[in-house]
């Protein structure tokens, strides 16, 4: 009869590789380094309210808005002025004047007014 223990003795765990210890130490060192970096990060004060940071920006925006509104003076233009400007921009200055009844120099110095 074969003894079980004798049979179990035939299976032997090998020695760990030489690199294993070095590998574990390297990992351990890296873990410590990352933990140290995390601890050294600047932490905000316990009573710091992040809204305080935005409050200053909001106040500035309101002030600028108020200043902008109070200094803004819309130009009072008549409809005629608007049309005149548009005509000038398009190069229809003379045509416009003709339509409105102003004297326009026609071909060969013909000075004719064409009342409406």
């Amino acid at each position: 009869m074969t003894d079980l223990n004798n049979l179990l003795d035939h299976v032997k765990a090998p020695e760990p590789s030489e690199l294993l210890k070095a590998r574990i130490l390297q990992q351990a060192k890296a873990q410590r380094a990352s933990e140290t970096v995390s601890k050294n990060k600047t932490l905000s004060a316990a009573n710091d309210n992040h809204w305080k940071r935005w409050a200053g920006l909001a106040a500035m925006a309101i002030i600028l808005g108020v200043v902008g509104l109070t200094t803004f003076t819309p130009v009072q233009t008549s409809e005629e002025d608007v049309w005149a400007e548009a005509a000038q921009n398009m190069g229809y200055e003379d045509l416009y004047a003709w339509v409105e009844g102003d004297v326009v120099e026609g071909p060969a110095g013909d000075e004719t007014s064409y009342p409406l």
């Binding site: 035939h10 294993l20 130490l25 351990a28």
Partner: protein, 185 residues
């Protein structure tokens, strides 16, 4: 009374993150912890992964270690065993068949063949055990831990652990008797 931890001298260094203390702990127990992985998983490379995980877990836990509850080695055995059980549950038996090197001059080729067959048979028998029985045999026979410590590692009562161990040995004998066509006692 709490068992005195023979590695207590390293605990202050481990708590402070002293890598020298970790290196010394590995000098003492790296082979033991790696062996747990080898007997349970049957692969040297996986066994080293288990050992690495175990020592790094201890490294992370050391600053909060409460002395007097368990020895460092018992704690590491437990972590390693549980890691192996998790791997076995996820992937099933991972035994690989190693082909050993050619016989040396002191043994005849036939004896070497018989020896290799025997090793393969025992490895097969171990692999065929249920996971917790495999753990019990690894801890009691290969790690030589007491019934009490083995029960603590597997989180069982001593009686349950003894029963587990008894079933493991019975199953091994049955499997090996079939393989050898002779009674294994």
């Amino acid at each position: 009374m709490a068992k005195t931890d023979p590695d207590m001298d390293l605990l202050p260094g481990l708590r402070e993150g002293d890598e020298t203390a970790l290196a010394r702990l590995m000098d003492r127990h790296l082979k033991t912890v790696t062996a747990i992985g080898y007997y349970m998983l049957g692969d040297a490379s996986l066994a080293e992964d288990v050992a690495q995980t175990t020592f790094l877990k201890l490294w992370q836990t050391a600053p909060k270690w409460e002395a007097g509850r368990a020895t460092l080695l018992t704690w590491m055995r437990r972590v390693a065993t549980n890691d192996c059980l998790d791997r076995l549950r996820k992937k099933g038996p991972i035994y690989l068949d190693h082909v050993p090197d050619r016989a040396d001059d002191t043994e005849t080729a036939l004896e070497e063949l018989e020896k290799n067959d025997m090793i393969a048979a025992v490895r097969h028998a171990l692999a065929s055990l249920p996971d917790t029985q495999k753990a019990a045999i690894t801890l009691s026979y290969y790690q030589q831990v007491s019934q009490k410590e083995g029960a603590a590692i597997l989180d069982q009562s001593v009686k349950a652990y003894e029963s587990l161990l008894s079933r493991a040995r019975k199953n091994l004998k049955a499997t090996l008797s079939l393989l050898y066509n002779e009674t294994v006692g």
